[in-house]
Symmetry: C2
Subunit: 333 residues, 2 copies
DNA sequence: ATGAAAGCGCTAACAA
DNA sequence: TTGTTAGCGCTTTCAT
């Protein structure tokens, strides 16, 4: 077994209280000599308080849960990194959970995290539309929701990105480059993020006196395949378009591939803009112009907000933080 | 406060021992009626044992630490996913730590994980060459090392990939396609993985009666910039080459970019093969032929091995598992 | 078939 | 300035 506070106390010839105080920086009333003596032993033994025991007493584990759809999806690693960096700086550890956007897995993980007594959780909910208010409420789990917007009273805080503006800027840019027939390869129709982007897309057209055409927007998954197939379909149906605005970069990658196969040049024949600015966007051919989401900061802010909320819970209402996205101009338009 | 086992016991009119037994599947000697009664209450209240208290008693937290260089590096998310999936299946949670290959961060995280009483850790050590045997030994932390090979007695298990064969296969393939002047853009010279690949590269040349030329291998970082600059240098110095074997896919991406700028066609003028098969490799132009490492399985096996080792520690020697890589032929050769 | 009680390693109120 | 002690929520041995 490893050492306990008792062992240290014995070695130093003091009580465990004394050791505890010293190790918790509450040693104002401990004399310098004893302090020094204890610290020497602590250092020599590389002693560290057992945080399980400590947590049992203090009701704080200094662990946060991070529940995301899939770390393998290139959108999430940067978020996770931002979260972990901030957590580490604030003295927290991060338990990571992949849900694959499955309702059941979400539930399972939330319960496990609650059981493990994490101090709070950062949650990127699935787009299934079902939430887990019951368990969050029952468990009284400090909860900040990230990226995907939901309204439930069990949510303590949110950090979101302005999807309307992101889409608006992207489409405006396309228009400024002379494009009028702009496809929108969107994702889940039911989802707020999609709807906001839809509004941004529409507004950009309107503001430039371009007629909006419902036929130009199509819904699918955040996968390259969706981009690929959509383009093929549009071309097969002889729809006219000179640009395509994609709900994420993977869709754009698929679109570009399809375009290439159809001998349509990007950006000469058709302009493409993506969304998210994943790493790959730099390396596509041509490099992808895309709406960059502040992924790292999203993760970082979420845990900072959560830490804040853990320290002083807001009695009513929720904290909301909305970040800006930014158009990264490369070569695909 | 949330409910405790005591509350449940009270509600059911039984002792906490009884509830504990039932919740731990040690209720052979409890009558069915009481069992049923207790379970009903448990279900109704969505009760769950406090695992902090439980851990204090049982000395098991059912948490593992995963220490990797950087989740943002496309090599690691799949490993993390494999690890997390396996952990979840085996009843473990995973705390994730990013070290940026920094010795200090590694140390800090190892200590924190030990203090948090994790049941074990999966560790992808930095290439700094310095290990942390002292703290691993002192803490008696079950440790499995992943991907990067080290020999220390504090290591309980290793899961590695056969780098010699990976390189051998890649270079042989290049040769089979008629290449003779093959550059090797390697990484850390001091590191075992690099050395093994170096041997594989050399052996493939030898076995095909091609003279090995030390000038053709160059060392750098796992970054696209290294690939980019190396190619530019080689061309500037008018070195002859028709193919390049890269220590990872990012290097290959950089190499391809440089080649493009020099109006050298891939694969017509020069063949390129990468290493790792990150997602991006599918989408480069042309799609990259590369040595695929079984990333997901590496993560998975590492936690399975660790779980095994936690259950029954091997008294002497270490568990070693070596996986195979596989050449993925796409269009860059 | 069920329960009482000790103890895991720590913190903190209180006493000395 | 330092120490005694109760108790956090649980598991487990031993009685009953």
């Amino acid at each position: 077994m490893s050492l306990t506070i008792k062992d240290i106390a014995n070695k130093a010839g003091v009580s465990i209280t004394t050791v505890s105080k010293i190790l918790n920086n509450k040693a104002d009333d401990i004399s310098d000599p004893t302090k020094k003596r204890v610290m020497q032993i602590v250092k020599k033994e590389n002693f560290t308080l057992n945080s399980v025991a400590r947590s049992l007493k203090t009701k704080k584990t200094h662990i946060m849960g991070l529940i995301i759809p899939d770390i393998t999806n290139p959108f999430f690693p940067e978020i996770a990194r931002g979260a972990e960096d901030a957590a580490s700086e604030l003295g927290y550890s991060l338990i990571i959970c992949n849900t694959d956007d499955s309702y059941e897995k979400e539930r399972k993980y939330i319960n496990i995290l609650a059981q493990k007594m994490v101090d709070g959780v950062i949650f990127i909910p699935s787009l299934t539309g079902k939430f887990h208010s019951d368990v969050f409420t029952k468990r009284k789990l400090p909860l900040v929701v990230l990226d995907r917007n939901f309204d439930y009273s069990c949510i303590w805080g949110k950090v979101m990105v302005d999807n309307f503006c992101g889409a608006y800027e992207a489409v405006s840019y396309l228009i400024s480059k002379g494009h009028k027939d702009i496809l929108f390869l969107s994702a889940f129709k039911e989802h707020k993020n999609s709807q906001e982007r839809y509004e941004g897309y529409k507004k950009a057209l309107e503001d430039n006196n371009i007629e909006f055409n419902e036929q130009n927007v199509v819904y699918g998954k955040y996968k390259s395949q969706f981009g690929y197939e959509s383009i093929k379909n549009f071309v097969k149906e002889k729809k006219r378009f000179t640009a395509v605005f994609c709900a994420n970069d993977m869709i754009a990658v698929g679109a570009i591939q399809a375009l290439k196969e159809l001998s349509l040049k990007v950006p000469d024949d058709v302009g493409v803009v993506g969304y998210d600015d994943i790493q790959m966007a730099r390396y596509t051919d041509p490099p992808l112009t895309t709406v960059s989401q502040p992924k790292y900061d999203m993760g970082r802010l979420a845990v900072e907000m959560l830490a804040e909320l853990i320290k002083k819970p807001k009695k009513k209402g929720q904290l909301v933080q909305t970040l800006e996205s930014k158009l990264i101009v490369r070569k695909s338009v």
